[in-house]
């Protein structure tokens, strides 16, 4: 890894972020109405002057939604993270709302992604181990089935099994108990966290682990057909050594590419399981504000989520470069 590589990656990430900002701007302005409407709706005396000042505060030109001036204002807001105030409740700044909600979603996203490849990749290797045996068929079929279940269906199943039939985990997340942990981390707070977060993380884990299992296995199988494996076997290297040292190292490269592509899906999954399990994170924030059409908050949330995914994606590139020294740029 050298400076040239890192700077190139950072530049690419910055470009991606810029693109995301522009795309969000265009897509969200395509809709009828404009973000200031929520605020104007709640005004007691909507005089012309008041409405104009609201528009000015938001930097929106109601006559031309795609005006350059409003785009500059928007750009400035997004890039400096000064998102303004929540139109539905003016005492809250959007930044603070996101700051309180983001950690929960990040926990789900982070643990799910790390856990899925920490567990999925060894499982994939082991499954490649048993190729040709009788137990391979059912394993693959189960993995395929579990991988193809949509997120919310898996969420429902996990909920029924773990919260209703064998009530280990709670039926609904309690905001009160979750709150204090992030301000003052403690071991008991950590246990509470596990208690509430296991179910959403579990739904994501099950689906993603199976995905990693299947792709890792197929990549391993194709790697095992290469010549150097034949050589290693001829040399007398033990089976497990072949699996883990020779084949897996080579299989990790395309696998990490797949991992990078999965991050966007994982983030959507984290958001939607957050909504379903009512964890007070970005999912619920986004859903509630969509229902009341609170566009400033929605824009900010989407931007932050996209940023997280871009960061994760770019970091995978570094891992990719570390794993495969042949990769330069």
């Amino acid at each position: 890894m050298n400076v040239y590589l890192i700077s190139r990656k950072i530049l690419q990430a910055v470009f991606l972020a810029l693109f995301v900002v522009v795309i969000l701007y265009v897509l969200l302005r395509l809709m009828p109405g404009n973000p200031a409407e929520l605020y104007i709706r709640n005004l007691k005396h909507p005089t012309k002057a008041a409405i104009n000042s609201v528009y000015k505060m938001y930097g929106i030109n109601p006559n031309n939604k795609f005006a350059l001036s409003s785009f500059i204002v928007y750009l400035k807001q997004m890039l400096t993270f000064h998102f303004g105030y929540n139109p539905a409740e003016l005492s809250q700044s959007i930044y603070s709302m996101i700051a309180t909600a983001l950690p929960y979603t990040l926990i789900i996203f982070g643990v799910a992604s790390i856990g899925s490849f920490a567990f999925g990749i060894p499982l994939g290797i082991v499954t490649a181990f048993i190729r040709g045996k009788r137990s391979e068929g059912p394993t693959l079929v189960t993995a395929t089935i579990l991988n193809s279940i949509p997120f919310f269906v898996m969420a429902i199943i996990v909920y029924i099994v773990f919260a209703v039939y064998y009530p280990i985990f709670p039926l609904a997340a309690s905001h009160y108990r979750l709150g204090p942990f992030l301000k003052s981390p403690s071991f008991s707070g950590f246990l509470v966290l596990i208690h509430y977060f296991t179910m959403p993380i579990l739904t994501l884990l099950i689906i993603e682990i199976m995905g990693h299992l299947i792709t890792m296995r197929s990549i391993m199988v194709s790697v095992l057909g290469e010549d150097f494996i034949q050589t290693a076997k001829a040399k007398g290297v033990s089976q497990s050594s072949i699996m883990f040292h020779h084949a897996a190292r080579n299989a990790m490269v395309p696998e990490s590419t797949r991992m990078a592509l999965e991050f966007a899906l994982l983030m959507s999954g984290a958001v939607i399981t957050g909504i379903i399990f009512e964890i007070p994170g970005m999912g619920v924030l986004l859903y509630e504000n969509i229902l009341i059409e609170n566009y400033p908050v929605i824009e900010a949330c989407l931007f932050i989520l996209a940023l997280v995914v871009i960061v994760a994606y770019s970091s995978i590139d570094f891992i990719h470069a570390w794993l495969d020294p042949r990769v330069r740029v």
């Binding site: 690419q12 470009f15 991606l16 693109f19 995301v20 795309i23 969000l24 897509l27 969200l28 809709m31 009828p32 190729r131 040709g132 395929t144 089935i145 991988n147 193809s148 279940i149 949509p150 997120f151 919310f152 269906v153 429902i156 199943i157 909920y159 029924i160 919260a163 209703v164 039939y165 039926l171 199988v221 057909g225 592509l261 991050f263 966007a264 983030m267 959507s268 999954g269 958001v271 939607i272 909504i275 379903i276 009512e278 986004l286 859903y287 969509i290 229902l291 059409e293 929605i298 949330c301 989407l302 989520l305 996209a306 995914v309 871009i310 994606y313």
Partner: protein
């Protein structure tokens, strides 16, 4: 030289052969076969959906199927009910301190008589008074102008005797006792007897002399009287006798000319005009009407047997004024209006079967606003049109034959079959689902009586009491229902009151789950296929553009694709879907707009690798147009990969669209699998209570996505054949 068409035909034949070979390889794999069969099953069900399920699945199921009655009491009485009578009686004035008193006839040990039952302690009862032999009829009535509140009068008749008793309920409602008022024996057998329930409001008629008044019993409960009528039969014929109720002093006795078993009706309480009130006796083909003074008002004989006579309740107070003089008479299949002044009859309506019961509203404004007759398996609601003739304004099928109709108010009737014990509550005779709750006691029951005063009671911490209470006898049990009813969700059942078959029961919104489920197949399949294919087409175009051209524009497009890919798509879908409106076309559009990057990335690799091959270079050199290069060289090489990606994409599209549906962002008038699950969003616990409503969509979704994944694995075999198989 081959001609152009022959080349074309050969070309097509070659391609078809190729496809057939590939299909064979695909078919060999277990995955491909399974996936294909599942997909074919889905398509068949989707095509057959209009045949399997009729109508709008959201129209709900008839309310009588899912509304259940709330039972407050079902207690065995501690005496044997007089089964030939099988009725309870009570009056409106009974409601005292939360306790109704009801009265019925029966025997306990060797005691025949009238028993009192309290609603809040219905198992126990007490014998009010004994009668000489079994009771043939009895009535409870509230005397007018009485200073004591807790009073009811009971009239009873046995074969040869008439009894009048005064019932005193304690003010707390905890005890009741009966004091004798009058008792006579008649000469002959009493066939039927009744009491005119109200005393005259405007003074006594002149024939009630002081002598008669003096002969009243010493119980100073009621200074005024009412009249008791009995049809007595002895060896000289059948007579109608009138008695003054409070001393059962016979006032007159007239011979009747009836040709069948008699029924007595009384109308008019005000005694203002000379000819009102009147007592009417029907029997066979004859009808006699007498004035309380004993004068015969009319005496008619019709050509048909008279069935029932129904008099609107408020007509009792209007002195047979014009507009309040008609009663409804049924005979066989026909319904007549009977004028009570002169006995003329006017034909209104003929039904297809015998009219089994007539129900009328109170008629406080002349012609009753609600008039229901039950005939065969239908009820008919009749009304008077502006031109004055009576016609049918509503009809509907009855779930069982009805032989008793009771009116509540505002057009609500309780329809019951006293032989089979079935009851159903009709709330609006003119709407599509006119019924509310129904009950089936599976035994013969007495006529239900309704208490207008709300009787408040609690079941499971829910207080009921805003509607009337119904009480009836079934065998030796007294059963009381609240009128209110409860909507419940049904499990899979093949026996509903309306005859519907519900293979999967109902959900919380009382829709037929099976109809919803089958009707969801077409929309979901359409959305999946359309979204998937549109995405593939867009991706193909973009991928070829990016892969073929190198340089700034293509790397710009690639970064654009990557950035669209990296926005967490589900939240963006939700935002756009909620903005553009909930229609399936919008969803297909949004999905294609945001879902193309993923497939594009896979295709870019292939395009770039094909581009490096020599035939492309030679095509470029030969100055062939770019578009035809793409068509002829790139697309065939990507063929199987395209199919593979299409399969995966369609599965993904259905998964994403059903995520919207469960969040409630799709229009609720289209049945979809996710929509069936949307009611459980905040309340997953109820999934365990209604598993039959949630498991079908989950299984269908999983199987559908699975089918495509299996198909794609089958195509994988075709696209990447490995020597010796995938081992």
């Amino acid at each position: 030289m081959k001609t152009n068409t022959k080349i074309l035909k050969d070309n097509i034949k070659f391609k078809l052969n190729n496809v057939r070979k590939q299909f064979k390889v695909f078919y060999r794999s277990w995955y491909g076969k399974a996936g294909l069969y599942i997909l074919i099953a889905f398509i068949i069900v989707a095509l057959l959906a209009p045949v399997l399920v009729h109508g709008n699945p959201f129209s709900g199921i008839p309310s009588e199927d899912y509304f259940k009655p709330v039972t407050m009491e079902d207690k065995k009485l501690n005496f044997t009910v007089e089964s030939s009578l099988n009725k309870i009686s009570a009056t409106e004035g009974e409601y005292k301190t939360g306790s109704y008193y009801m009265f019925t006839a029966g025997e306990s040990g060797k005691n025949y008589g009238i028993f009192a039952i309290t609603a809040n302690d219905s198992g126990s009862s007490c014998l009010l008074f004994k009668t000489n032999g079994t009771v043939t009829n009895f009535m409870a009535f509230a005397p007018e102008s009485t200073s004591l509140q807790y009073l009811t009068d009971i009239f009873a008749s046995s074969n040869h005797s008439l009894y009048v008793y005064n019932v005193l309920c304690s003010s707390s409602g905890s005890s009741v006792k009966a004091l004798p008022v009058a008792h006579i024996s008649v000469n002959g057998t009493i066939v039927t007897a009744m009491v005119s329930t109200n005393s005259p409001r405007f003074g006594q008629p002149s024939f009630v002399t002081d002598e008669v008044m003096a002969a009243t019993s010493t119980v100073d409960s009621c200074p005024y009287g009412s009249y008791t009528y009995a049809v007595v039969e002895n060896n000289t014929g059948m007579y109608l006798n009138e008695y003054y109720t409070y001393n059962l002093h016979e006032l007159w006795s007239h011979k009747l000319s009836l040709t069948g078993s008699p029924h007595i009706y009384f109308i008019g309480n005000n005694f203002i005009t000379p000819n009102s009130p009147e007592v009417i006796v029907t029997g066979g083909k004859n009808i006699d009407a007498w004035n309380v003074t004993g004068a015969l008002l009319f005496n008619n004989s019709y050509s048909f047997n008279i069935g029932q006579l129904a008099i609107p309740a408020e007509y009792q107070y209007f002195d047979l004024k014009p507009g309040y003089q008609d009663a409804f008479m049924s005979s066989g299949n026909s319904l007549y209006i009977l004028n009570l002044i002169n006995g003329t009859r006017t034909f209104i309506y003929t039904a297809s079967h015998t009219i089994a019961a007539i129900g009328v509203s109170r008629g406080s404004h002349g012609f009753p606003s609600d008039l229901i007759i039950s005939s065969g398996n239908y009820y008919y609601a009749l009304a008077k049109s502006k031109t004055g003739n009576v016609q049918v304004t509503g009809e509907s099928k009855l779930p069982f034959g009805v032989n008793n109709i009771e009116y509540y108010h505002s057009g609500k009737f309780l329809l019951s079959n006293t032989t089979t014990g079935q009851m159903i509550y009709l709330i609006n005779a003119f709407q599509k689902y006119p019924y509310s709750w129904n009950s089936n006691l599976k035994a013969s029951v007495g006529n239900p009586i309704m208490f207008e005063e709300p009787y408040s009671f609690k079941i499971d911490n829910v207080t009921y009491g805003s509607g009337p209470t119904i009480a009836l006898l079934s065998g030796n049990n007294i059963i009381m229902y609240s009128f209110e009813g409860n909507p419940v969700s049904l499990g899979p059942t093949f026996h509903t009151v309306s005859g519907l078959i519900l293979p999967l029961g109902t959900n919380i919104a009382h829709d037929n789950v099976f109809a919803l489920f089958i009707d969801s197949f077409p929309p979901d399949l359409e959305v999946g296929f359309a979204a998937g294919i549109m995405t593939i087409l867009i991706s193909l175009v973009v991928a070829m553009f990016i892969g073929y051209y190198s340089g700034m524009v293509s790397s710009f497009m690639e970064t654009l694709a990557l950035s669209i890919f990296l926005i967490p798509t589900l939240p963006l879908y939700i935002v756009l879907a909620s903005v553009l409106g909930p229609s399936l076309i919008n969803l297909i559009f949004i999905f294609s707009l945001l879902g193309w990057p993923f497939v594009t990335f896979s295709l870019i690799g292939i395009v770039r690798s094909v581009k490096t091959r020599t035939f492309v270079e030679s095509a470029k050199v030969s100055n062939i147009k770019t578009l035809s290069i793409m068509k002829r060289h790139f697309v065939p090489n990507m063929g199987t990969l395209l199919v593979y990606l299409t399969a995966i994409n369609i599965g993904g599209a259905v998964a994403a669209v059903s995520s919207f549906e469960i969040l409630g962002l799709v229009s609720v008038s289209i049945p979809t699998w996710g929509g069936m699950l949307s009611s459980f969003l905040g309340d997953f616990y109820s999934i365990t209570v209604y598993p039959y409503a949630t498991i079908p969509p989950i299984v269908a979704l999983t199987l559908f996505i699975l089918a495509f994944i299996f198909i794609s694995r089958g195509i994988d075999e075709v696209a990447n054949p490995t020597l010796g198989g995938r081992k």
